[in-house]
């Protein structure tokens, strides 16, 4: 059970942490994800669906070399899949990000509330995600592995700064 975290707060969310191995862990992870999916339906929480549609629309528009008027790489279906995967893993209870195409040929997620508070994460097909944030006086940036979960460094910042009110 140490493999997973289920939290109930003002805005409930389930955050699987795939640190453990073994069949028991896999079963509990699946059950938690099922609960999460059911809850999404109950709350008519449409974040992933909206984001996936938006991501697909942007990928189509930006699928040619130089789509940004400079040397941007085409956004491929594989990058779209990485973005959808990231969107699906986003925890509940956070504000909806904007999806932004990047010259690297990837799809970035941007959270922004007014001046001086922006946070951006870009999942890639290389199994990493790049992130940066200007969160008031705090500035963060880096690159983290992205496999079956969104790293805690990312989710904690999202909950601290972009929790739905």
């Amino acid at each position: 059970m140490s493999a997973l975290t289920a939290t109930y707060d003002k805005f409930p969310f389930v955050l699987p942490l795939n640190k453990a191995v073994g069949s028991a862990s896999a079963i509990v992870t699946k059950k938690l994800l099922d609960i999460r999916e059911k809850r999404r339906g109950m709350l008519t929480f449409s974040l992933p669906k909206d984001l996936c549609g938006e991501a697909a629309y942007i990928q189509e528009r930006c699928s040619l070399l130089g789509w940004d008027g400079y040397d941007a790489r085409p956004i491929t279906k594989a990058e779209l899949a990485a973005a959808i995967r990231f969107a699906e893993l986003l925890p509940d209870g956070i504000v909806q990000p904007e999806i932004i195409p990047e010259p690297s040929g990837q799809l970035g997620f941007l959270w922004s509330i007014g001046q001086g508070k922006s946070f951006s994460v870009t999942p890639g097909t290389d199994g990493n995600l790049v992130y940066a944030g200007i969160l008031g006086k705090k500035e963060i940036s880096g690159q983290l592995p992205f496999n079956n979960e969104i790293p805690q460094e990312i989710t904690l910042n999202l909950f601290e700064f972009y929790r739905k009110s």
Partner: protein, 159 residues
Amino acid sequence: MKYLKKLLSIFSSSIENPEELSHIVAADEQISRFIFSSDHFKVKGDSKRVLYPAFLPSEKTGTASVYRTVALNELEIWGIDKKYISGMRRDEKVSKGRADVIAKVILENGLSLIPLSEPHPRHADISNYPGEKGQIRLIAMKIAEASTLVLKPTYESNR
């Protein structure tokens, strides 16, 4: 008509022969990044903002192309775009707006502004981006936040 032609020739001359520009970009100069993708800015009511990808470097060159628009008026700036930026493209893509920022913001983040003579004497490159992708993004976010979005008049009227 004669008056207009004369006025245009005066503007063209000042744009194409920017004698007042130094070989080193001054910290207080206005720098403009022309934006072709409407995904790289947001307009909501009266609020206009530039998004960070507008200042991410090209993966091919590692630089971002900009123009030194100090001491130019709107007509002159869009004149450069018409002739040397949107006007030189073969794919008929046209700019939708530009991000104006003071050079100091770029320089303070450890980047360089390298004047180039082609295709226009006011052309420059933002270069010297760091190697780490997260750092590049953070810098692009800071520059975008400090920028002012100016929509192209023709784009704004067609929105």
